[in-house]
């Protein structure tokens, strides 16, 4: 059997998407921790274009970009499927996965915003609408985005249940609330309680500390993950 390696950076939720997919499918892999402040030759070799994590290396062959990695995992280890069988339902799932990727900059901006920008509401104005769209159009009355069980869409938005909580706490705002997005709030709680997710989350205290120090060092460089 070919070896599976996952290059990641411990605070990055992008890497956790891959971890969750592997755990759900029972795929054994070797985790390689990358220090993004001092990128290894290995990372630059495996991801020369973006120089980011996560990178999956399967039998020596690298794949970058978490949505691409997730689709590869789904095709290579098809048991315990994380995407619907029906092509139309798959297209809908892909739509939401792309939506998340396209809108990610809103959250990066929120995370990096200055106190003035936050007070001015400019940094967060697009987020309530985004959350409403997720609740009404993507989730609807389902327990999970994937239906009764989680799928790639849940995994893609999984950062809302933990990493975003950290962002909310650091910035002193509450956005995923039962009063504004009750079903999404319930989804986040349900998702986080799943054993595989619960047992595979970054330590929250360490995450907050990292986030705080990251904000302090903010410069023109990009966020560490993709």
């Amino acid at each position: 059997m070919e070896e599976v390696k996952l290059i990641g950076f411990w605070p990055s939720f992008f890497g956790y998407r891959v971890i969750w997919a592997f755990k759900l499918k029972g795929v054994k892999y070797e985790h390689i921790e990358e220090d993004l402040s001092n990128k290894s030759d290995m990372l630059l070799l495996y991801n020369p274009i973006h120089k980011k994590v996560p990178v999956l290396v399967h039998g020596g062959k690298p794949i970058a970009e978490s949505p691409v990695i997730l689709e590869y995992i789904e095709e290579t280890w098809p048991h315990n499927p994380l995407l619907p069988k029906d092509p139309y339902e798959r297209a809908l799932a892909q739509f939401w996965i792309k939506f998340e990727a396209d809108k990610n900059p809103i959250f990066a901006a929120f995370f990096r915003s200055t106190k003035e920008e936050l007070d001015d509401q400019n940094a967060i104005k697009e987020i309530p609408e985004y959350l409403k769209i997720l609740e009404e159009q993507a989730l609807g009355d389902k327990k999970f985005f994937g239906g009764d069980n989680i799928g790639l869409v849940d995994i893609t938005f999984g950062w809302l249940c933990h990493w975003f909580k950290g962002m909310e706490e650091m910035r002193g705002v509450k956005l995923v609330e039962p009063s504004t997005v009750p079903r999404l709030h319930a989804w986040a709680e349900n998702f986080k309680q799943l054993p595989i997710i619960k047992e595979n989350l970054t330590d929250y205290t360490q995450l907050l500390a990292h986030g705080k120090s990251f904000r302090e060092k903010l410069s023109a460089s990009d966020l560490p993950s993709n």
């Binding site: 020369p48 274009i49 399967h58 062959k61 794949i63 970058a64 970009e65 949505p67 691409v68 990695i69 689709e71 590869y72 095709e75 290579t76 092509p87 139309y88 798959r90 297209a91 809908l92 892909q94 739509f95 792309k98 939506f99 990727a101 769209i133 159009q137």
Partner: protein, 221 residues
């Protein structure tokens, strides 16, 4: 056979990606032109999140986002495959589709902006072309190998429209001496019969995009 409808706007590169995929696979469809300045209730019903075209409607069910539509078409109509069969090669193709989608704004920006912003767009689009040429295309004739595939379609739309934009802003970026392989690829791509026979009228495009640029630049004064 269940009905296939395609909602689009004649000057959209995203629309053409889908047209090329449908034509390459010999799929019949009904085309519906949308007026984006006065969006139809049907469009808003089919694409409530983005309110954009193209939208493919198959047996009454709408699919949005050009590259997602193409993946759907690939699954429903497997003839003339646009993706490799090997999962690793498929992952590489999807990586490039994602890359091209993320970098596309710089190509539009060259057309939309002036001054410093345009200079930045020039730099960004050149860098992207270099990466695409060296790492994406390499020595291949097409991104898909000997015949065109999903990456050719994704990037081909951007490259063709970029050619129109270069003419309008009088800045040449994708030139043979700077990007020999990519330039050759573009020529070959636009010679593929399905592509050649399915491009919007160039004069009409030049006229439309020139007018639009004047309007938007004067509106932002």
């Amino acid at each position: 056979m269940a009905e296939v409808k395609l909602h689009g706007r004649w000057y959209s590169p995203f629309l053409y990606r889908v047209i090329w995929a449908l034509k390459l696979k010999g799929i019949s469809y009904e085309y519906i032109e949308e007026d984006l300045s006065n969006k139809s209730p049907l469009l808003l019903q089919y694409n409530p999140v983005h309110k954009k075209i193209p939208v493919l409607v198959h047996s009454g069910k709408p699919i949005c986002e050009s590259m997602i539509i193409i993946e759907y078409i690939e699954e429903k109509w497997p003839q003339t495959p646009l993706l490799p069969s090997d999962p690793y090669e498929r992952a590489k193709a999807r990586f490039w589709v994602k890359f091209v989608e993320e970098k596309a704004p710089a190509f539009w920006s060259l057309y939309r902006s002036t001054g410093e912003e345009q200079k930045k767009a020039l730099k960004d689009s050149s860098e992207t072309l270099k990466i695409v040429e060296e790492q994406g295309l390499g020595e291949k004739k097409f991104f898909g190998g000997d015949s065109i595939g999903i990456v050719d379609i994704a990037f081909g739309a951007i490259a063709h429209w970029f050619g129109v934009f270069e003419e309008i802003v009088e800045v040449k970026v994708l030139e043979a001496h700077a990007f020999p392989r990519l330039h050759a690829w573009k020529v070959n791509f636009e010679e593929v019969p399905v592509i050649k026979e399915n491009l919007p009228d160039r004069d009409k495009m030049l006229d439309y995009f020139k007018k639009r640029r004047i309007e938007s630049l004067s509106a932002s004064q």
